[in-house]
């Protein structure tokens, strides 16, 4: 990409909810292309800047599904502030690995992990008021807010994320195509 002299940078926020930060790692795997990207975007809230709350943004990239009350608050903050909200990765798109608990009863899960299984549980089910309450099940983000675009994959490859972002920046409808669209 050739960089125009004067360009209004798009403001981008990212977050990882019920995810593993693998999608963020994959985003960083665009390597030196990140420097090129920084000609076109600037970061708002993201683990890269450590800004704690999302301000008005053009693009919000959300990794991870929704497994607890805090995830819901953060996701709604992103939806409220981002003109365009993007689900990045299998967990945001489908619930992913955390959603493997969805056919189990939440109380049974907590009981098994913190009480029954003695090698793991030390002191019973946590109930500190600072801990966000877990939801009955893990939700893909589009079951909680409207989502504009989806980039599936566990994680999506760096090339897929790059293709998606450069399509978006060029004003094209993002299309991943064979080799870049992946569910695993």
């Amino acid at each position: 990409m050739t960089v125009p002299a004067e360009i209004k940078k798009l403001r981008v926020a990212t977050t990882s909810l019920a995810g593993c930060f693998g999608c963020h790692m994959s985003f960083l795997d665009i390597d030196e292309r990140l420097l090129e990207l920084l000609h076109y975007i600037e970061f708002d809230r993201t683990p890269l800047t450590d800004i704690k709350h999302c301000g008005p943004c053009d693009i919000g990239l959300v990794e991870g599904g929704i497994c607890n009350a805090e995830n819901v608050h953060v996701l709604r903050e992103f939806r409220k502030n981002c003109k365009m909200l993007v689900a990045i990765g299998a967990c945001a798109v489908t619930g992913g690995l955390p959603a493997q608990r969805n056919h189990l009863d939440l109380a049974d899960c907590l009981q098994e992990v913190y009480v029954t299984e003695t090698s793991l549980g030390k002191g019973g089910i946590p109930n500190d008021p600072e801990l966000p309450l877990p939801l009955d099940r893990v939700y893909p983000i589009q079951e909680v807010v409207k989502v504009d675009y989806f980039v599936p994959g566990c994680p999506p490859s760096a090339d897929a994320i790059w293709k998606f972002l450069t399509d978006l920046l060029a004003g094209r409808t993002p299309r991943l195509g064979h080799g870049l669209i992946s569910y695993d």
Partner: protein, 251 residues
Amino acid sequence: MSDSQHFLLDGEEVPFTPGQTVMQAALSAGRYIPHLCYHPEFKPHGSCKVCTVKAGGRTAASCTLPAQSGLEVESATEEMNALRRTLVQMLFAEGNHFCPSCEKSGNCVLQALGYDLGVTNAGFRHLFPDRPVDASHPDLLLDFNRCILCELCVRASCEVDGKCVFSLSGRGIDKHLIVNNASGRLEDTDIALDDKAVAVCPVGVILKKRVGFALPIGQRRYDARPISAQALEDAPRPSTQGPCNACEDAP
């Protein structure tokens, strides 16, 4: 053999022999129509509707639609592909299709179809059904979470293997694949590793144990080329069309 019968597929003439369906004639002519429950070796089932085309102004499953002279068929249109995308999305929302942990990933027809149609999400609320696996058989695993009710294993087990190991049970949203015996467990059947029913599963329901990742992710069937580029190779060219004389006829 009649060589004068044609229908129009997306504006181009496709020859057919009487008795062929639109799908059979299209595949024989080297024309791909996306499909899922259709398999060239089995009687068409017509249940998944992914092969839906618009014929004579009406939508119909091309795998069961008899080819007729002069029929105008639309398939590779955005309207039809949008319908197919929705059908594939519903299948993903209805089962537990967790591709990152599925050993069929890369060889899965449902997944490959999703890639090819550009399906990026399930579009509907995921049902997250509770479907316990059957690991009772020493050499085979049944993971019902991924079943799309295509009935290919049911058809293969009855028509080819002569064992009728599988069946569908229930109605509507409760319809599900079962092992067709008193215990309902695979270990109590005479299923064998080289049965057609084992080989034919398009998704990751019937799996051979201990070979899951013998072929690494990235080197699998649909990693190399999209399903639309490969489906034609699977399609048998009917002998009724006679031997190919293209080489002899060439100047």
